[in-house]
Amino acid sequence: MARSKVVKRVAKIASAEPSLIRVKVAAEVEGAASKDSARRESPIERVTVNKAYKMYVGGAFIRSESGRSFRIKGVKSTDPEVVNIPRGSRKDVRDAVLVAKNAQAGWAGRTPYNHGQILYRLAEMMESRRTELAMSLVREGQSQSEASREVQLAIDICVYYAGLCDKLSALLASHNPVAGPHFGFTLPESLGVVGVVAPRAPSLLGLVSSIVPVAVGGNAAVVIVTSADPRTASIWTECLATSDLPGGVVNVIYGQVAELLTPMAKHREVSGLSIWGDLGDLGIQAEADATESVKRVRRYADGDRALLSTDGARGLGYVEPFLEFKTVWHPMGM
């Protein structure tokens, strides 16, 4: 008799007659031991190690401070696994913004070349987890080939943005013609903390397409993931955690956009909002909430979701909105 069965049996006895427990357990275990030795050749039944999927804030994997969670289930009938996922609260958003604020200057202070190195390493980490990422997408209901294609595309986007990092200045800065013996330079700088609402779908490609360009510009991101199955996001954050990206630069919270977007849009420490997917009135409300602290807001609605499903959203245009441009004058000298 396998051990788990012994345990069940003991529980049954215990509920029936407590005084008999000791005697019966001894007998059961003895019996089990002799049978075990007889079946030593057969594989031993082991306790499965289930994964606790958590949010990623400040370089650590955390549960919600609220203690809340929601239950999710694989879409396919062959996947009966039910999993509890932390459900982020407004306070989680607040805490994550603080963490992001503290991490942002250090990230922006690194050289663009180093940004590129780290994002390329992110691609490497995703490459080594291709199977796991694809499996997670299949669990969401995609076919194997669709899933593999999405993972590949997501990795390619990371490589694309890794290459873009040290070209930003060359592409966006300018030497302005001015009247007088001066140089006039316009230089891109990071904006600060940017709030991101990741698209509901496609879950992996959407994350990469919405978050990476924000980080390219030296910003720190607080991301609200609203997809039906945040397990893909969780696996992706494990890639982030091993990519040398400093903790706090990308913070990922799972939750409901209706609950979390308003405090993020109103938060005065957040300098920009990147909202993906058609959120209807919530998106409009977020724009209104953002006015008080004069945030930069970009909304990428359906058109971009279509773009995601073809070859991914990539380009300078996704980086530029979350940059600040500073113009300086400098005397030419003789």
């Binding site: 109103k266 938060h267 005065r268 420490e269």
Partner: protein, 330 residues
């Protein structure tokens, strides 16, 4: 048995207090008879830390939170004790103490400004006519490792400059070497040197090593005439912690039961967030009751705390989380 020992201790404290207060310090010359000080009760460290952390689990929301935070601001000794302090910085801090939030005059003012002796006159001028007191650190702050004459002179000069409160440091070296009588005498001498100024005695709990020594130092300071006992200079980590504060508040409570004198408490250093401040207020309320929830008997020695409290108050008022850059620093 425990309560019997406690009663014996309190009885001893009462007697000693009567003896000490009947003999003026100046008449106790160098040839005085050795002073025998009562022993202090030992501290149950596990129970102390458990109680301090249990009190931290109290949740204060909305109206109670706002009231607590507003009180915390009125209890604050806004502090700058840096080598780079300038008259300009001290003046800026004074304006902040007078009116912590420019858009709301009902918030504050803070209880006091805490500066080095050199800036007492600057602060005094900037705060003239207000309820904000000027506290000065003295007695060879922060180490206290100078001859007594210099330390007393330091305190006297600070009072001459106009300090309303003196924050002295004890000689931790002497305390750890077991020279408790020396520590006691130095506190008593400083109290005398302070004249009318209130005396806060900094124990620098982070250097005292154990809760028992902290309890002992608290008892000594109160017996020697402290008006306040204060945890730390802010220069040493760990500074104020909830268990240490709870322990010192319990010493104050025992002393109050024994003598009827109300001694104030000032945790300093390490209190940075609104949540921590509210936690301390809960500890005070649960240990000493409402009487001590007053700037005359409880203070926070802090600099960064004020902005965090203001950010929380503004969050409650506007519903939006605030940015630290929107609040003046220094």
């Amino acid at each position: 048995m425990g309560s019997l020992m406690k009663r014996a201790f309190l009885h001893f404290v009462v007697l000693l207090h009567r003896v000490i207060s009947s003999v003026p310090m100046s008449s106790r010359g160098a040839d005085r008879a050795p002073l025998i000080l009562p022993s202090s009760p030992t501290v149950d460290a596990v129970a102390l830390e458990e109680r301090a952390s249990a009190l931290a689990k109290r949740s204060l929301k909305k109206v109670a939170k706002i009231a607590g935070l507003r009180l915390a601001i009125r209890m604050m000794d806004l502090t700058t004790l840096e080598g780079k302090d300038t008259p300009g910085k001290v003046r800026a801090l004074c304006s902040k103490a007078l009116r912590p939030l420019d858009t709301d005059h009902t918030i504050g003012p803070c209880a006091a400004i805490c500066v080095y002796p050199n800036f007492v006159s600057v602060a005094k001028l900037a705060l003239a006519g207000s309820s904000v007191a000027v506290a000065s650190v003295a007695t060879a702050f922060p180490s206290g490792q100078s001859p007594l004459a210099i330390k007393l002179d330091d305190a006297r000069r600070a009072v001459d400059f106009g300090a309303d409160e003196i924050d002295m440091v004890i000689d931790r070296g002497a305390m750890l070497a077991g020279e408790t009588a020396k520590v006691f005498d130095e506190i008593a001498a400083t109290k005398e040197a302070c004249g009318q100024a209130h005396l806060k005695v900094i124990l620098e709990t982070g250097e005292l090593g154990s809760y028992d020594v902290i309890r002992r130092a608290s008892d000594l300071a109160m017996l020697a005439g402290a008006d306040f006992i204060k945890t730390s200079t802010g220069k040493i980590q760990p500074a104020a912690t909830p268990p240490v504060t709870l322990l010192m508040l319990e010493a104050i409570r025992d002393y109050y039961y024994a003598t009827g004198r109300r001694i104030g408490m000032k945790p300093a250093g390490g209190v940075r967030t609104s949540k921590q401040a509210l936690h301390y207020l809960v500890i005070v309320k649960e240990t000493l009751g409402d009487d001590w929830l007053d700037p005359s008997l409880f203070r926070f020695g802090a600099s960064a705390l004020l902005n965090d409290v203001l950010m929380q108050l503004e969050k409650e008022r506007t519903g939006a989380y605030q940015a630290s850059d929107d609040f003046s620093k220094d």
